[in-house]
C-alpha cells in the first residue's frame, strides 16, 4: 500500500511537472500546448546522445539538454505559435497537435524506436519502515515540489505579473511598455526547461522510447484540469492525486483500470464543475 502510494507520487510528480509547463504557457500566452511532453522528450534524447556518444557526465549533459530544449521552444514559439496567437483555441489546439506529431516523427526518424536507458548517477534505494524508496522517486517528487514553489514565487515577481497581465490583455501591457514578445519567449523557454526535467526523470526511472511522450500529454492536461487551469499549486496537487489514484486503482482493480481512472476523473470534473474552471479561465468564443 505505502509502496504503491510512493510509486503513485512519483508518477504523479511527472504529471504535475508537465501540468506546470502546460499551465505556465496557458497563463502567459493562452495556448493549450499539446506538444508539452514531446518538447521535453527531444532534449531528453539529446541528453542520452551526449552521454552515449560523447561520454559526457550526466551533470553536464542535463544542463546542455535543458538549454537545447529552451532553444527549441523559442524557435517553435517564434515560427509556429506567435503568428496564430490572435486566433481561437481551435487554431492553437490544432497547431500544437501538429507540432506534437512533427516532434514525435522527428524523434522516431533520428533515434528509431528501440528502448534506451539513461545511466543516471542517482540510483539505488533506501528503506523507511520496511518500504523501499528509490532515490529516483525521491528526486522526482522533490523536484516537482521545488518547481511548484519556484513558479509560485515567480508569478509574484514582476516578470510573473507581466506574464499574467499579458494573458488577460495583450494590448494594454504593451502600451505600458511591457515587451510582450519577450514575455512570450520566456514562458515557452521556462516551460520547455520544466518539460525536459520531467521527461528526463520519467525516462531514467522507466525507459527512454520514442513514444514516451504521447501517453503523458493527456495526463498532464488531466492534472491541470483537476487543479483548475491557471493554478500552479492546483496543477501540482492535481498531478500527485492523479498519480496516486491511478496507481492504487491499477493495484487493486487491475492494470486496465489505470488509464481509465484518469479519463473518468477528467470527464467527471469537466462535467460536474465546469463553472469552477471557467471562473479561473475566462470564457471565450471558439
Amino acid at each position: 500500500m505505502v509502496q504503491q502510494v510512493i510509486a503513485g507520487l512519483q508518477a504523479g510528480s511527472t504529471y504535475a511537472m508537465l501540468a506546470l509547463a502546460v499551465v505556465l504557457i496557458l497563463k502567459a500566452t493562452d495556448v493549450p500546448n499539446f506538444a508539452t511532453a514531446d518538447m521535453g522528450l527531444v532534449p531528453t534524447f539529446v541528453l542520452w546522445q551526449l552521454m552515449d556518444s560523447f561520454g559526457l557526465s550526466y551533470w553536464i549533459a542535463l544542463p546542455a539538454a535543458i538549454i537545447f530544449g529552451m532553444g527549441l521552444a523559442l524557435v517553435i514559439e517564434r515560427i509556429a505559435i506567435r503568428p496564430i496567437l490572435a486566433e481561437s483555441h481551435f487554431a492553437t489546439v490544432l497547431m500544437t497537435i501538429g507540432i506534437f506529431v512533427v516532434l514525435s516523427a522527428v524523434i522516431q526518424l533520428i533515434w528509431g524506436s528501440e528502448p534506451r536507458r539513461i545511466e543516471a548517477p542517482i540510483s539505488g534505494n533506501f528503506q523507511i519502515g520496511g518500504n523501499f524508496v528509490t532515490y529516483d522517486q525521491l528526486a522526482t517528487i522533490g523536484l516537482g515540489a521545488l518547481l511548484t514553489f519556484a513558479l509560485l514565487r515567480f508569478f509574484k515577481s514582476p516578470w510573473g505579473i507581466r506574464m499574467q497581465a499579458i494573458a488577460e490583455d495583450r494590448v494594454t501591457p504593451r502600451l505600458l511598455g511591457v515587451r510582450v514578445d519577450r514575455v512570450f519567449s520566456i514562458s515557452w523557454a521556462l516551460a520547455a526547461a520544466i518539460s525536459t526535467l520531467a521527461m528526463t526523470l520519467h525516462t531514467q526511472s522507466t525507459v527512454l522510447t520514442d513514444t514516451a511522450g504521447a501517453p503523458l500529454i493527456l495526463k498532464a492536461f488531466v492534472a491541470a484540469t483537476m487543479g483548475g487551469f491557471g493554478s500552479i499549486l492546483g496543477a501540482f496537487l492535481g498531478g500527485l492525486a492523479l498519480g496516486v489514484i491511478a496507481n492504487l486503482a491499477g493495484f487493486y482493480i487491475g492494470t486496465g483500470s489505470r488509464a481509465a481512472v484518469a479519463m473518468i476523473f477528467v470527464v467527471v470534473i469537466l462535467m460536474a464543475k465546469p463553472e469552477g474552471l471557467f471562473s479561473k479561465a475566462r470564457p471565450r468564443e471558439v
Partner: protein, 351 residues
C-alpha cells in the same frame, strides 16, 4: 426535382470517381441549362467510370480508391461537428471503432444482415455521441478538446476490456462481406460508393436546411442563439450524434477494408490522419473531406516505404494548413476561381 437529385448524385459520384481516376470535373453550376446538361453528362460519364473502375486498375489500387472514399465519408462527420458547429471534437476515430467492432459483432457473431448491423452500430455510436455531447454543451475551446480526447481514450479502453466482442488487445479478424457474390474488393468499392453518395447528398441537403444554418449559428454567434429561441445545446447534441453516426458508418466499412482491427487501430495515429483530412482539405466544406482524403491516402502511399516520413508529412501539413491556409485546399481553389472569374469580368468590361 428528380433530375436535380440525379445531377447531384452524379456530381457526388464524380467526386469519388475523380479521386480514383484523377479526372477533374467541369465548371461550376449555373442557371444555364446547357451547363447543367454538360454537368449531368460529365457526371454520368464519371459514374460509368466509377462502375467499371475495378476492371481498369489492379486490386491494390482498388483498395486505395476505396480507402479514399471511406476516409472522405468519415471526414464528412468531422466537417459537421468541427467545421459547421465549431466544436473541437477529437473522439471521431473512436466512433469509427464502434462502427467497425459493432458491425462485425452483430453480423459475424449474431448473424444479423450486414447492412442492418452497420446501421444499428451507427445508431449506437450516435447515442454515445450524444453522451459525449453533454459536456460539450457546457465546454468551450480546449476544454472540449480534452474532454473528447478523454472520452475517446475511454472508448478505446472499453475495446480492450470487452474481449469477447473485440478480441481484446490482440484484435479481431473481420468477416468479409460480398455484395451479390462479387469479389470482396469490388463489393467494398460499390458499397463505399453508395454509402458515400448517401452520406454526401444527405449531409449536403441537411446543410442547406434550417438545421444546417442553426449549426453554423451555434458556431458563429452562440450568444445570439438563445434570444432567437434556438437551443444551442440541442443543436450541439444533434451535431455530435450525426457526426458519430457518419463516423460509425464509415468505420464499419473501414473494418472490412482492413480485414483485421485492434483497439490500437482507432487511436491517436488515425485521429491525426483525420485531422489532416479535414484541415488540409478544408474544414467547412464537404468537398474538403474529399480533397483531404485524397491527400492523406496518397501521402500514406508515397511514404509507405520510408517509415515515419509519413507521420512527419502529416504533422508538417497540419502545421502548414493551420498557419497559412485556415480554409484548407478547397479555399485555395475557390480563391483562385473567384480571382479568375473576376479577371473574366474585367476583360468583358474592357471589350
Amino acid at each position: 426535382m428528380a433530375v436535380d437529385i440525379d445531377a447531384s448524385t452524379a456530381s457526388k459520384e464524380t467526386g469519388s470517381g475523380k479521386k480514383a481516376g484523377g479526372l477533374s470535373r467541369g465548371s461550376a453550376g449555373g442557371p444555364i441549362t446547357a451547363v447543367r446538361a454538360a454537368q449531368l453528362a460529365g457526371g454520368l460519364a464519371l459514374l460509368a467510370l466509377a462502375i467499371v473502375l475495378p476492371n481498369l486498375i489492379n486490386p491494390y489500387r482498388m483498395f486505395l480508391a476505396t480507402l479514399i472514399v471511406v476516409f472522405a465519408t468519415a471526414g464528412v462527420g468531422l466537417v459537421v461537428i468541427m467545421g459547421w458547429t465549431g466544436q473541437i471534437a477529437l473522439a471521431h476515430v473512436a466512433f469509427m471503432g464502434i462502427g467497425a467492432y459493432g458491425t462485425n459483432w452483430l453480423f459475424s457473431d449474431l448473424g444479423i444482415p450486414w447492412l442492418v448491423s452497420l446501421i444499428l452500430s451507427a445508431f449506437a455510436a450516435a447515442v454515445v455521441g450524444v453522451l459525449i455531447g453533454f459536456p460539450a454543451a457546457r465546454l468551450r475551446g480546449f476544454y472540449l478538446a480534452i474532454a473528447t480526447l478523454a472520452f475517446a481514450e475511454l472508448i478505446v479502453r472499453f475495446f480492450v476490456e470487452v474481449d469477447t466482442i473485440t478480441g481484446g488487445i490482440a484484435g479481431k479478424p473481420i468477416e468479409i462481406i460480398q455484395l451479390f457474390g462479387l469479389a470482396p474488393d469490388r463489393s467494398h468499392w460499390y458499397i463505399a460508393l453508395m454509402m458515400a453518395a448517401v452520406v454526401f447528398i444527405a449531409t449536403d441537403r441537411l446543410g442547406r436546411t434550417a438545421f444546417g444554418r442553426c449549426l453554423r449559428m451555434v458556431r458563429d454567434a452562440e450568444i445570439a442563439t438563445g434570444s432567437l429561441g434556438i437551443s444551442a445545446t440541442q443543436y450541439k447534441l444533434l451535431a455530435f450524434a450525426l457526426s458519430a453516426f457518419i463516423a460509425a458508418l464509415a468505420g464499419g466499412l473501414f473494418g472490412q477494408l482492413l480485414t483485421y482491427v485492434s483497439p490500437d487501430t482507432f487511436h491517436t495515429a488515425l485521429l491525426i490522419q483525420f485531422l489532416v483530412v479535414v484541415f488540409v482539405g478544408g474544414i467547412t466544406r464537404l468537398s474538403g473531406a474529399i480533397i483531404g482524403a485524397i491527400f492523406v491516402v496518397v501521402s500514406r502511399e508515397l511514404f509507405q516505404d520510408v517509415g515515419d516520413w509519413q507521420r512527419l508529412v502529416y504533422g508538417i501539413s497540419l502545421v502548414l494548413a493551420v498557419r497559412f491556409l485556415p480554409g484548407g485546399l478547397t479555399s485555395l481553389w475557390s480563391t483562385l476561381r473567384s480571382a479568375r472569374s473576376l479577371r473574366g469580368v474585367t476583360q468583358e468590361a474592357g471589350a
